[in-house]
Each structure stands twice: as structure tokens, then as C-alpha cells.
């Protein structure tokens, strides 16, 4: 993207619209001081940077109003820039109007300033180190990073503020509760956990909890306990209840202690055996035999056994059987009694268990540590209460010994537990603390939703902070690292460019390339150090000449331009306004070479009043086009032209303008053209203060040099001789125009003036190529030219050889004879 056309109106020295056809090329805009060059540069700045804005208001009353052309009305300043391919930027009284491509170009210009003017060269060196750093840093195109850093910083501050506010609300809420607690139990940290911890400590101190689990559920249980104790005579009731439980356990112990521990299973087996024997046919037959046997007399024979009746023996047998039956009955009774005893004891145990659980707030005795499940399991033992039969069966299954052992152990443990519970009961004089505990727990539980909500907010914000803070710190550090890296790269470029303009090997070069030291403390600083006569100089301004300092300024600008141009969206534009004022032409020539070699990807607009510098620019930079600003007036503004345009304009004037107008236009052409010819043909002119030569001083040396060339080139340049003769009055005409206007019309009537102007045009066209904008110069040297040619060789005059000359002169002689 480059500038194709610029149209300017009513900006500073430009009144009427001036159109520059730049065609995307690099241009040299050359003209004397006060001819409006800088007005063009300022107009470009206004359009591309938005600076140097011409304001409305009373002309000359302020700097802004001075930027408008003083003869124009309000709202009239306007600059239109058309870009190559597409894109347009227009600035005027209505502000900025640009299409997408135009805006992109303008943004690129704002981000990587393409303008450099003489007065800005020392800005960098004169600036404070911190400002220098900011200036360099602004070229790094890290706006998006800086915006992110600002966002991160703002966000972190917001989050921190929110955390602080939430913490304050939470703290106020909790402090209000914490202050109600006895002093030694007030929390050190006013967090919900801190307060809860204090409450559990107080609860433990009052013997209401073991204080091991600190959570909301346990707090609720503790609250219920405290409430029970603190309501009415709750503490006394509790004490009574536990005393009852203690009594129940004591009784149970007494009941359990003498319980029979015989082997009931062995008893049961024996009875079973007896059942079988008593239920056998032996007993029935024995009784039948006995009845019949008894009916017989002693000594008779029994019909059953056939034996002689022996009553004594039979009675003995019956006695034996009867005693066995007696034993069975006794065993049965013993077992029944055994089971009954156990059943009664078990009922008492169950009752005692109910009392203990109720008093101690337990679901069952197994909730007490060290109390195991009963043998046979809880389900089996439920049957013990159903019926005598079931009880006996269950007891046989469980085993009375195991059950007895379990009962004894459980009774002992329960007794110890209750003893502890009673021991833990708060003393009667601590009931006030119990009530406080109850109140605070209630209040805390009431505020649970708010507390948890605030804690959630704080937790989330802390997570955000924990994420944002390291990202901010890492990005900030990375930005500093990258800035240092890139600025070091730029500093190296500056040193390289300086060495190209002031090569270290040169005899009179005692300065060395400046070094830019970037330091990252505070917001960043940039120090410029110099080297003079192989010694380091803290500030180049102390010893560097104005020219050297200007070169430093130019090199910094070029290095920044080179850096920015790596960006694909860069404008690749460079506008240099009189930047070589203090630089001698030898170094300026190296600057031109540097621009040519390293910035051929840029569209460069060079504004200068220095004719020799302009000449060298044209010679050394192929393709550089020239725009001459040949004069300026308040009414018409700058007179812009290249020679082709000026020649065309003069040709038009010849046909229909007054002698004076023809003469003025001719002088604009010839003044500029001869000034350039002075350098191109290395004309020797008398020394003049300020080096401001006009046609008057240059004409005679020019004619002299041309006539010498005519002599060498003969017929090829013969018409030049004639034209010089015809134009001999040029210096006189210039003087007349300047000082003797009244006599001018008498001396130079229109036809004479038109003829002289036509000859001027012919002279220009003979020696200057309007295509490649160069003079037809002697080649190979000025002293022994063989050819006179412009760069494109459209103009080419060949010096005839001696034989050709002889032949030509022989032909002439023959013709004359």
C-alpha cells in the first residue's frame, strides 16, 4: 500500500487545491525555503497521523488557526489521500472520512510514525530516559498486551476489593457472635471454622461433646444438647436421668452376678436321654408284668414270664424305674427354673438398656465404645422375650455361659460410661455458659446460608485471584523481557546505520555509533551513550557535532522504521522533511545510499531545499521522481511542477498570455532548471553567501560550459549554440521582472517574449530528458567526454571522431568553394 495521489486545500501555505500525483513512487520534493514544501508535509501529517490539525477560528490567533490558510473561510481545510490499489483517507472540517483500506493505512502510520522533520531529530536525545523508553516502546506494537495487562490488573483489583468486602461482611457477622462467647473461648480467626472451633472447645469444656468432629451436623447436635441442658431444669433432669441409669446398671450387675452358669446344654442332653428311656415299651410291659405278677401268690408261676413269682425282685425293679422317673421330673423342673431365672434377668436387662439409652441419648448399648454385639446377634435375642419355650430354645442356641459373659462385660462398660457422662455433666454454676453456647450456636445456624454464600463468594474470588495474579505477573515479566530483546535489536540497527553514514575507518571520524542502553527498572529507561576519540561519553550531546547528533536522530528513526516494516500491515512510508540541514553533503550522500540500499521497500518522500542534496538523491536513487516547488504566493500558494509540467504550462502561456506572465513562467522553469544544471555539469560559480544562486549567477558559467561541449560535439549540439545566442537576454529579463517592471513591457513585446520562451523550452528539451528526469551528461568524464546522454539514453549525442570532423569540414569547404 502506498500513496497514489494527494489533494490539499487551505492548509498553511496552500490555498487552492493542489494535487500531487505520487503514483505510489518515491519522490523528491525540492524547493526553496518558504515555497510550501512543509505545508504539504503538515497536510500529510494531518491526514495520516491526525496531528497538526488546522482548526477553525480567527486566523493567526492560535497555533491551530495558523495551520489554516489565512485567506480561506472556516471549514475549508481539506486533505484527500488516495492509496494505490484501493483506499482513501479524507480529513476536513467534518473530521475524518476513510474507507477500510484507508483506515488500515492510517492506523499503520499512527503505530509506526513515518514522519521525520528537522526539528524532531534531537527530540530523542533531549528527552528524559523514561520518555525515551516510552517512545521506543511505543513502536513495539504491544498495545494488545498492554490492554490485557491493564484488564488483568483492573480485574485483580476488583476481585481483591470484592474479597475484602465479603470478608468484612463475614467478619462483622461472625465477630458479633464471637464476642458473645466467654473471652478465653473467642476465636483467633473470625472465620466460620474459627467460630465453630471455639464453640466446640466451649462445648468440650462444658462436657457436652468430645469436640473431635467440627462440622455443621455435629454443631447441630451440640446445639441440641446445650438446648436440652439450658432449657428450664434441663441440667437437673439430665443429672437425674443419668443417676437413674446408673442405678439400673447397678441393679443389673447385682442381678447378673448370681445367674446360674451351669452347662445347660449338658442338662438338656441328659433329659433327652431320659425321655427316650421313659417313653420305651420296657416301662409299660414292666408295669403289666408287675400287675399280673402281684395277682399271683408267692411261689406260683407267672403266666407271662413262667417263672415262680419273686415279689421282692420285681419291687426292686419298680423302685429303680420310679427313681429314674423322679430324676427326670427333677431335671425338668431344674431346667424350667434355670430358664425362668434367665428370662427374668433378661427382662431386667432390656429395661435397664432402655433407661441407659434414653438417659445417654443412645440408640442402643452397642453405640458405646467397647460394647460388642451380643452373642447370637441382636435378632436371635429378641426371641428371648416372646415365650418361655422360645426363650429356652434361644438360650440353648446362644449358650448361657457366653450370654452371661457378655452381660457382665456390657454391664461393666455401661457403668463406666454412665459414670463418665455424670462426671462430664457441667457443674451447676456453668449453666450460664451452656446458655451462651446454645444462643450462639442457634444464631450461627440461623446465619448459615449467608455465611456459606459469603464463603463461596470468597472462595471463588480467591480462585480467580490465584489465577489472574500469576498470569498478570508472568505476562508483565514476559513483556519486559521482549521489550528489552526488541529494543536491543533496534539499538543494534541504530549502531549499524550510524556506522554506515559515519564509517569508523574514515580519517576524521572520531565519533562512534551511539549505544542505547535499555534498563527495565521502574517503567523502563533508555540511555544513549556515545564514543568520542575512543572514550565513552555519557551523553553524546556533550561532544558530538550538530551533524553527528542529527545523524543519531535519523538513525534511530530509520531503525524504528526498519523494525516496524517487518509488520505486514506497516505503511512502508517515509516522509523526511529537511533532515540533512546540519549534515555535510558527504555524509548526506551516504544517507542517500543507505535509503537506497536498505529502504527500497518504502515509498520515500524527501523534502529538501538543498539543491546539491536533491541532485545526489536523484543520481543515487534510481526511480526517485522529482517535484519542484518553484515559488509561492499568498494568493496562489506553492508553484508545483516537474519540468514536464512546467514546460507544458509555459507552452500554454506562450499562446495566450501577457508578456509578463510568459516571462514569469519561463523564469520559474529556468531558475530551477539552471540551479540543477549547476550541479549536474559541475559549473564553477562565484562564491555567494547562503549558496542561493539564481539564473543571473549561473547563466554565464552555463553558457561557457555548453559552448565548450558544442565545440567538442560539433553538429550534434549545433542548435545549442544558436539557442544560447537567442537566450542571451535571460539574466536581463530576470532583473527587469524583479526591479524594472514598467520598462519590461516596452522592451519585450509579446512576440519577442514568446520567441524567447520557445527557445527556453527547446534548450531544456535538448539537454534534459523529461522521461527519466536527468540531464544529458558527459560520459565517461567531464574533461574527455565521448557521449552526452541522459540515464535512459533517450537523449544521446555522440562526439564525432577526428576523421568524421575532417570529413565534415572538408565537405563544408568543398561546398563553399
Amino acid at each position: 500500500m502506498s500513496i497514489a495521489q494527494v489533494s490539499i486545500r487551505a492548509v498553511r501555505g496552500i490555498r487552492h487545491e493542489v494535487a500531487l500525483e505520487l503514483d505510489g513512487k518515491s519522490w523528491l520534493i525540492h524547493g526553496d525555503n518558504g515555497t510550501g514544501k512543509s505545508s504539504i508535509e503538515r497536510a500529510l501529517r494531518w491526514a495520516l497521523l491526525g496531528t497538526e490539525v488546522p482548526a477553525s477560528g480567527k486566523p493567526l490567533s492560535s497555533e491551530e488557526s495558523c495551520r489554516r490558510h489565512v485567506l480561506e473561510g472556516e471549514e475549508s481545510p481539506r486533505v484527500v489521500i488516495r492509496l494505490s490499489k484501493t483506499g482513501q483517507i479524507e480529513v476536513g472540517g467534518d473530521g475524518l472520512d476513510a474507507d477500510e483500506a484507508g483506515l488500515a493505512f492510517r492506523t499503520a502510520c499512527s503505530q509506526g510514525n513515518p514522519f521525520l522533520r528537522r526539528l524532531e531529530l534531537l527530540d530523542f536525545l533531549n528527552a528524559r530516559p523514561a520518555d525515551r523508553f516510552r517512545y521506543l516502546d511505543s513502536y513495539l506494537d504491544l498495545t494488545v498486551i498492554d490492554t490485557t495487562l491493564n484488564d488483568l490488573s483492573d480485574k485483580e483489583k476488583q476481585v481483591a476489593k470484592r474479597i475484602k468486602a465479603s470478608r468484612q461482611s463475614l467478619e462483622a457477622m461472625l465477630l458479633n457472635l464471637a464476642h458473645r462467647l466467654p473471652e478465653q473461648f473467642r476465636p483467633k480467626k473470625t472465620t466460620s471454622n474459627g467460630v465453630m472451633d471455639s464453640l466446640f472447645k466451649l462445648g468440650k469444656h462444658l462436657g457436652l461433646t468430645d469436640g473431635e468432629a467440627i462440622d455443621w451436623k455435629s454443631l447441630e447436635t451440640l446445639g441440641n444438647t446445650a438446648q436440652d441442658l439450658s432449657t428450664g431444669s434441663g441440667l437437673d433432669d439430665k443429672r437425674r436421668s443419668l443417676t437413674t441409669a446408673e442405678e439400673a446398671v447397678r441393679r443389673l450387675g447385682e442381678r447378673v452376678q448370681p445367674l446360674p452358669s451351669a452347662d445347660m446344654i449338658a442338662l438338656a442332653k441328659r433329659r433327652q436321654q431320659m425321655e427316650q428311656s421313659t417313653a420305651s415299651p420296657t416301662l409299660a410291659s414292666l408295669l403289666e408284668h408287675a400287675r399280673k405278677h402281684i395277682d399271683l401268690e408267692e411261689g406260683e408261676f407267672c403266666p407271662i414270664c413262667g417263672q415262680q413269682v419273686e415279689r421282692t425282685e420285681l419291687l426292686q425293679k419298680i423302685d429303680t424305674q420310679l427313681s429314674e422317673l423322679e430324676e427326670y421330673r427333677s431335671l425338668s423342673s431344674e431346667m424350667k427354673q434355670f430358664a425362668k431365672t434367665w428370662q427374668l434377668a433378661w427382662r431386667e436387662f432390656v429395661e435397664a438398656q432402655g433407661v441407659i439409652c434414653s438417659s445417654c441419648g443412645l440408640d442402643s448399648l452397642t453405640a458405646i465404645d467397647d460394647v460388642r454385639d451380643p452373642p447370637g446377634g441382636s435378632e436371635l435375642l429378641k426371641n428371648l422375650l416372646d415365650s418361655d419355650e422360645k426363650f429356652q430354645t434361644a438360650l440353648l442356641v446362644v449358650g448361657p455361659n457366653e450370654l452371661l459373659n457378655w452381660l457382665k462385660a456390657t454391664t461393666r462398660t455401661a457403668a463406666t460410661f454412665i459414670e463418665q457422662e455424670i462426671g462430664n455433666l457441667p457443674a451447676a454454676d456453668t449453666i450460664g455458659d451452656v446458655r451462651i453456647l446454645d444462643d450462639v450456636i442457634k444464631a450461627l445456624i440461623d446465619k448459615r446460608t449467608s455465611i456459606e454464600s459469603l464463603e463461596r463468594d470468597i472462595s471463588l474470588d480467591e480462585k480467580k485471584q490465584a489465577l489472574v495474579r500469576p498470569v498478570y505477573q508472568a505476562m508483565r515479566k514476559a513483556r519486559q523481557d521482549v521489550a528489552q530483546e526488541v529494543l536491543d535489536e533496534i539499538a543494534t540497527l541504530v549502531a549499524g546505520y550510524y556506522a554506515r553514514i559515519h564509517p569508523p575507518g574514515e580519517e576524521c571520524e572520531v565519533t562512534r555509533a551511539p549505544t542505547i542502553e535499555v534498563q527495565r527498572h521502574a517503567g523502563g529507561t533508555a540511555f544513549v551513550r556515545g564514543e568520542f576519540a575512543e572514550k565513552l561519553v555519557k551523553d553524546p550531546k556533550w561532544v558530538y557535532s550538530d551533524g553527528h547528533l542529527d545523524t543519531v536522530g535519523i538513525c534511530i528513526f530509520l531503525a524504528l522504521r526498519r523494525y516496524r516494516s517487518k509488520n505486514p500491515s506497516d505503511s512502508k512510508l517515509m516522509v523526511l522533511d529537511d533532515v540533512v540541514l546540519s549534515i555535510d553533503l558527504g555524509h548526506a550522500r551516504r544517507l542517500i545510499q543507505l535509503l537506497r540500499d536498505d529502504f527500497d521497500d518504502h515509498q520515500i518522500l524527501i523534502f529538501t531545499h538543498n539543491g546539491l542534496f536533491a541532485r545526489w538523491c536523484l543520481n543515487l536513487m534510481p526511480g526517485l521522481k522529482k517535484l519542484a516547488v518553484s515559488g509561492w504566493s499568498l494568493e496562489t500558494g506553492p508553484h508545483l511542477s516537474d519540468y514536464a509540467t512546467t514546460v507544458d504550462r509555459l507552452a500554454n502561456h506562450i499562446s495566450d498570455s501577457s508578456p509578463k506572465e510568459i516571462a514569469m513562467n519561463m523564469m520559474w522553469l529556468m531558475d530551477e532548471w539552471l540551479a540543477e544544471a549547476r550541479f549536474s555539469y559541475s559549473l564553477s560559480v562565484p562564491a555567494k553567501y547562503g549558496d542561493e544562486y539564481t539564473l543571473t549567477e549561473i547563466w554565464d558559467p552555463f553558457c561557457s560550459a555548453m559552448r565548450k561541449l558544442v565545440k567538442l560535439f560539433g553538429d550534434e549540439l549545433l542548435n545549442v549554440n544558436t539557442l544560447l545566442d537567442e537566450l542571451r537576454d535571460l539574466p536581463h529579463i530576470r532583473n527587469m521582472l524583479a526591479a524594472h517592471e514598467n520598462e519590461f513591457a516596452q522592451e519585450f513585446p509579446r512576440n519577442v517574449m514568446a520567441e524567447i520562451a520557445s527557445h527556453s523550452i527547446m534548450l531544456v528539451k535538448t539537454l534534459y530528458c523529461l522521461d527519466c528526469h536527468t540531464f544529458a551528461l558527459p560520459i565517461p568524464t567531464r574533461h574527455a567526454p565521448q557521449v552526452l546522454a541522459c540515464r535512459c539514453e533517450e537523449l544521446r549525442y555522440v562526439r564525432p571522431s577526428k576523421s568524421q570532423k575532417r570529413k565534415a569540414s572538408g565537405g563544408e569547404k568543398a561546398k563553399s568553394s
Binding site: 506494537d141 494488545v144 488483568l152 489472574v468 500469576p470 508472568a474 505476562m475 521482549v482 517487518k566 505486514p568
Partner: protein
Amino acid sequence: MLDPDIIYSDAVQKVIDKTLLDLKQSLPAAHMKAIQRLVDQGEFLDVESILTIAEQDESNTGGEG
């Protein structure tokens, strides 16, 4: 939200790369993974997107209370 198609300048890209390198050492792996995803989507320079990571983290681990 930033346009993921934006091609940042070399300097911006360098800053992002260096930042990520530093964060790898200071952020938990899960957060780093989420940050890398933002970089890939071109949303790393959007602060609200970074905050979303903390919010997602909260919804994954939060809820108890």
C-alpha cells in the same frame, strides 16, 4: 472476545510464548491445560475467558458446604 484469526505481531507472539513458559512452572496442570486451550482458540488475551477457568474449577470442585 478477540478474533482468533488475528495474527499477532512477532513481539506479541513472543510475549505470549514467554508468559506460557513462565505459567507452566507456577500454575497447576489443569489450569495450564485450560490456558493452553484459550491460546489455541485465540482467547488468551481476553481476561473474562481466563476468569472462566476459575469459575469452571469452582463448579467442578465446589458444591459441598
